[in-house]
């Protein structure tokens, strides 16, 4: 926190001016921003050298006949003719290597398989603003979908609450390792996300109950009301902190779980992930962020992002999109198969391909392939080394973890996928998957094929 320094100054000043003694202060009340901390441990790993592959680095580069050296859980080197004493050497000739695939939009664990009322824990449909709920508290780590996703190369994923509410609650970023607790999957030091939703879902759910929001204008009123409250709440805490720092003995504001989260947004610690299909609504959500002084973050399911690609890039918003989902709602009617490519074509853009599906999360490489090839048939000239960024580097940027994963750069976490062929072929399969340098999946070796407790012994 950058706040520490000015407050120290404030303390020093206040002793001079006011001259009151700090000894009369009650203990400082602080909000624990990490009460359910990650207990993630890197799985057993060794120095590994993958040799002679076609490497897509995630930074726009393709290197043929290249080696990837993994050491101490990190990418140690990417280049030709590498060697390392004592390394496990994997012959990857004719195969392809990419960074681990990242899905910014998943409901695995909160809407797990099998679909059962007992496990429908993704949507707290009891109030249009439920910023107080955290998706991590719903995650069932035994969802067999995590294993299927890993077999498709998914190493990191954000689990979000559903889109029934205007503000649905916090999302959590997980490492896709098999575990018995959520905390053991939790991506260390990844920022929280906040799920918001535009359009049809909130208004139709609450409208059908004769509650606000019943309309899109009701949606906007709902967000604004919540952020007005959050602004007041933040002001109260800021005042408390400042007064305390000034040597006074203020009474701390009453804790409010809902406003804690929105305060985190206003302070830039929690990133917005906004289910928002339509061009005009995304434009308003960008302005909403400006109205209250936060960044509007990533637009998910952004079916109409191609209509406002410039606006998104100018404002630094990522758009997370499907290749071809459409027609299930009116707000998903104006789909174009080149949406992602059109968003991506603008300077400073951040195009992401996401799944929102336990099925397609297993094939984000194929979802990306659909877009690349459709776009190339219609005047684009997209290459594998570029589009891989839509499901790696850009996705990491959207989640605020691009300093840790999303590309094969020296020092980054060794989240790596070895593919049997070009990952943008329909016949491609992930052969081996590494998370932090630890092998977590091997298509040829049952010892590295995790199975959920739920599936064990099912006949």
């Amino acid at each position: 926190m950058a706040k520490v320094m000015p407050s120290l100054v404030a303390v020093a000043l206040s002793t001079v001016i006011v001259g009151c003694s700090p000894a009369q202060q009650d203990p400082k009340i602080t909000i624990n921003t990490n009460p359910y901390p990650s207990t993630y441990q890197i799985l057993p790993n060794s120095t590994t050298l993958l040799k002679n592959a076609i490497v897509l680095t995630g930074t726009g580069e393709r290197i043929d006949d290249a080696d990837v050296l993994i050491k101490d859980g990190k990418i140690s080197a990417v280049g030709q003719q590498l060697s390392a004493a004592g390394a496990v050497v994997i012959d990857a000739k004719g195969k392809w290597i990419t960074p681990g695939i990242i899905d910014v939009h998943s409901h695995l664990g909160v809407y797990p398989s099998p679909n059962a009322e007992s496990h429908n824990d993704g949507n707290e449909m009891t109030n249009p603003v439920t910023a107080e709920v955290w998706a991590e508290h719903s995650v069932w780590p035994q969802d067999p979908g995590f294993n299927r996703a890993r077999e498709g190369g998914i190493t990191t994923l954000q689990i979000l609450p559903g889109s029934a509410n205007l503000i649905g609650g916090r999302g959590v970023t997980l490492k896709n390792v098999p575990a018995t607790t959520m905390q053991a999957m939790k991506f260390p030091a990844a920022p929280y996300g906040l799920k918001m939703a535009c359009g049809e879902n909130p208004k139709s759910l609450y409208g059908s109950r004769n509650e606000l929001p019943m309309t899109r204008m009701g949606n906007m009123a709902g967000y604004r009301t919540a952020f007005i409250q959050a602004t007041e709440y933040k002001r109260a805490w800021d005042k408390y902190d400042a007064d305390y720092a000034a040597g006074k003995n203020p009474v701390a504001p009453e804790r409010d779980l809902m406003k804690d989260t929105l305060k985190g947004v206003l302070e830039g610690d929690i990133l917005i992930h906004n289910h928002c299909y339509k061009a005009e609504e995304m434009a308003m959500m960008i302005d909403l962020g400006k109205e209250f002084g936060y960044h509007a973050g990533t637009f998910h399911h952004a079916v109409e992002a191609y209509k406002i690609a410039d606006l998104l890039a100018e404002n630094g918003n990522c758009a997370a999109m499907w290749p071809d989902w459409w027609g299930f709602k009116l707000e998903a009617y104006d789909m174009v198969l080149e949406n992602v490519a059109m968003v991506d074509a603008v300077k400073n853009s951040c195009a992401v391909v996401h799944s929102d599906s336990g099925v397609t999360i297993q094939r984000l490489n194929q979802e990306t392939a659909k877009i690349m090839h459709n776009a190339n048939a219609n005047g684009f000239n997209l290459k594998a080394e570029h589009v891989i960024g839509w499901i790696t580097a850009n996705a990491a940027k959207s989640l605020g973890i691009s300093d840790k994963t999303g590309s094969l750069e020296k020092g980054k976490n060794a989240d790596v996928v070895l593919w049997n062929t070009n990952p943008f072929s329909v016949y491609a399969q992930a052969e081996q998957v590494f998370i932090d340098g630890a092998k977590v999946y091997d298509r040829q070796d049952p010892a590295y094929q995790a199975q959920s407790d739920f599936m064990l012994g099912q006949e």
């Binding site: 174009v336 099925v359 739920f454």
Partner: protein, 419 residues
């Protein structure tokens, strides 16, 4: 594509032929130098030619292909048009807009005929053509009961007359229920068929004494009788293997034409299905244990069933707007162990066999539903170069292309001014 003018020889031949047959001759098309995936025992024919006339395939590799239009495929792959099945295409414009959807009918029953709701102008129809799909067996989403009405067959031309046949098969949904026991549904079906059979038997005994029996059978009875006679397939959407075993027995007892749809756990009883000659329409992309009826969903299931000798069709059951991706389902099946030719048959010949259609193969006499591909039809990098439905060339352009172009090619004026 290069269009060759007909040669002088071809001209004289066709003129003399015209004199022999009739003065008005339908346009003929010859596709030459194609790599023809016939979906028949002929397999793949290299550098082959296919001649189309009057909407039918009239010749394959004739000595001298002659036609009004000759298309040089330059080695490109020609396949039968792909056939989708058991989806809602044309019954729903937008899923969440009540006034635009006709797939679900609460009171659907045996006689329910959803073809009366089909809209060939639905915006999803040209989009589906992008996937090389030329025909579709449409099913309703059913209703509260087990009977989901009847299937109908359409071509994907989008023409007003694109319904080829209505009331082609009776659809039943069995298995897990939100309320009550699955046994009730199974029992209802078995009783319906057995009772109708008994009634028929009784009637034929008494008929000799009452020759002037003029009683008109109910519509429902007519349909059930057609099912019992094996004239109309009984199409059952079911997942759990224990349910499937009951249905295998039902087929053996009654001799009906039975088709299974979805059949997630069919893989557990694959040999029995093969033995009973029961085909399976499968969504080959299902691979999550979605329910306790479907714990064995796997990308490998399509291949495993085919290898066990089951006739497999690959489909996207219940979908409407996404069926263009059918070819990718077939590709994934191949990636997960299905033989390539089996996968091609699973979107062409097998679908035709299962639903009794006169397309799905490149063979003389079959409907000229054909697709010329830029590469492997299952690959993302390939696209439809040309396609024909009953000999008529089709466009794959859709509303989506217009939207793309409008926003790709910006002008000084708002997008609304560009078409």
């Amino acid at each position: 594509m290069t269009l060759f003018n007909k040669s002088a020889l071809a001209l004289s031949l066709s003129m003399s032929l015209a004199l022999v047959t009739s003065a008005v001759k339908a346009e003929t098309i010859a596709i030459i130098h194609a790599t023809v995936h016939t979906a028949t025992e002929q397999g793949v024919l290299k550098d082959a030619s296919v001649v189309i006339e009057d909407g039918k395939i009239v010749a394959i590799n004739p000595l001298l292909p002659t036609a009004d239009t000759i298309i040089d495929a330059k080695g490109a792959i020609l396949t039968p048009g792909f056939i989708a099945s058991m989806n809602d295409l044309g019954l729903v414009e937008i899923g969440a807009v009540a006034s635009s959807r006709d797939a679900y009918e609460k009171e659907a029953d045996v006689v329910f005929d959803p073809s009366l709701a089909y809209n060939p102008k639905a915006s999803s129809v040209p989009f589906a053509r992008k996937g090389g799909i030329t025909r579709n067996v449409v099913s309703s989403g059913g209703g509260e009961g087990i009977f989901a009405g009847q299937t109908f067959t359409v071509d994907l031309s989008g023409d007003w007359d694109s319904i080829l046949a209505a009331n082609t098969g009776l659809v039943v949904a069995l298995g897990a229920k939100e309320e009550g026991s699955r046994a009730a549904g199974m029992q209802q079906l078995i009783h319906k068929l057995e009772d109708a059979k008994k009634a028929q038997a009784k009637k034929s005994k008494t008929k000799k004494t009452a020759e002037d029996d003029s009683e008109v059978p109910s519509r429902e009875d007519e349909i059930i009788h057609a099912v019992l006679a094996g004239e109309k397939p009984l199409i059952i959407d079911v997942d759990r293997a224990s349910d499937i075993l009951h249905l295998i027995k039902l087929k053996q007892d009654l001799g009906i034409d039975l088709i299974l749809v979805n059949a997630a756990d069919a893989v557990l009883v694959a040999d029995k299905l093969a033995q009973a000659n029961i085909p399976v329409v499968i969504d080959s992309m299902r691979n999550l244990p979605e329910s306790f009826d479907a714990l064995h969903n796997s990308l490998e299931n399509a291949g495993k069933l085919a290898n066990a000798g089951v006739k497999v069709a690959i489909a996207l059951p219940g979908d409407s707007h996404g069926i263009y991706a059918l070819r990718f389902s077939a590709g994934n099946a191949v990636a997960n162990g299905m033989n390539y030719d089996d996968a091609l048959a699973a979107v062409t010949a097998n679908v035709a066999d299962i639903f009794h259609l006169d397309s799905g193969r490149i063979a003389v006499g079959k409907s000229a539903d054909l697709v010329l591909w830029s590469g492997d039809p299952f690959e993302f990098s390939s696209k439809v170069q040309k396609m024909w439905i009953a000999g008529e060339e089709q466009s794959t352009d859709s509303r989506q292309d217009k939207l793309r172009d409008r926003y790709l090619h910006k002008t000084a004026m708002p997008e609304a001014y560009s078409r």
